[in-house]
């Protein structure tokens, strides 16, 4: 089993996440797709770490997980605050910051 399979799986997962971010209307669904993209990159990191025989890739995965946890906590708090104030979760209706 060489690295190409892992990288292709990672690329496919990342692409699915990207399509989800573009397509989904619900803010929480967009968050879920961002998590999917982060995990695809994590898979690349671990695969490269394995095949280059370096532990540093796994350390990076650790940091990515920490940042993802912080991002999820703050993002979901923003979502809750948004729902309280605007009573919507649609990304199409919360476009005040657009333009």
């Amino acid at each position: 089993m060489n690295i190409t399979g892992y990288l292709i799986l990672s690329a496919l997962l990342f692409t699915i996440g990207t399509v989800g971010v573009i397509v989904k209307k619900n803010i929480i669904a967009v968050f879920l797709c961002i998590e999917l993209m982060l995990n695809a990159v994590n898979l690349s990191f671990v695969a490269f770490a394995r095949f280059l025989n370096q532990t540093h890739g796994q350390i990076f995965v650790f940091f990515v997980m920490v940042v993802a946890a912080a991002e999820a906590a703050v993002g979901l708090a923003i979502t809750v605050a948004l729902y309280r104030n605007r009573k919507t979760l649609s990304v199409d209706e919360t476009d005040t910051l657009k333009w």
Binding site: T4, L9, I16, T55
Partner: protein
């Protein structure tokens, strides 16, 4: 055996990922993402990263996704079914863009030619690769400052979350 397990868990991960964006109900999307994360943990085990696999299950599937599920249940479980797709064209544009991204990524993967990198060096490291001990030593020796800065980041996230989630904003 490795190849079979890779295709098995890779297929499960891909199917779960497609289900994440295909589901109308946001709750099922989240459950599907948990499935995807668990299969990725199995693939991490194949890549000899047991620590990362354990952290993936405990922290990602266990903590972060439970946070997501709590917020989904707190807000509105059926809101994604209520949302109308006004611009159906965007979905097709997104699918086209996805194909373009796949082509670009495939080209760059081919160009890199990392498939030729041998994986024989693992035994040279004395089988210490990927153990909790080696990761801990690297983390607390080479990456001590980033690790400490991470704790500040977590603190900022905690404070920000508490302030944002307060009743009056």
């Amino acid at each position: 055996m490795d190849t079979f397990l890779f295709y098995l868990f890779g297929g499960v991960a891909l199917a779960a990922a497609v289900n994440v964006i295909a589901q109308r109900r946001i709750f099922y999307s989240a459950l599907s993402l948990i499935m995807c994360l668990c299969s990725l943990a199995a693939i991490y085990m194949l890549l000899e990263a047991p620590f990362i696999a354990a952290v993936q299950v405990i922290v990602y599937a266990g903590a972060i996704m439970v946070l997501f599920l709590f917020v989904i249940m707190l807000l509105d479980p059926y809101s994604s079914a209520v949302l109308r797709d006004k611009k159906k064209v965007l979905a097709y544009v997104a699918a086209l863009l996805g194909v373009a991204v796949i082509v670009l990524l495939h080209g760059s993967l081919r160009a890199y030619e990392l498939a030729r990198v041998p994986r024989t060096a693992a035994s040279a490291a004395g089988g210490a690769y990927g153990t909790v001990r080696s990761i801990g030593e690297t983390l607390f020796r080479d990456y001590l400052l980033p690790f400490e800065i991470t704790s500040v980041l977590i603190l900022v996230a905690i404070i920000g979350t508490v302030i944002l989630a307060k009743r009056k904003i």
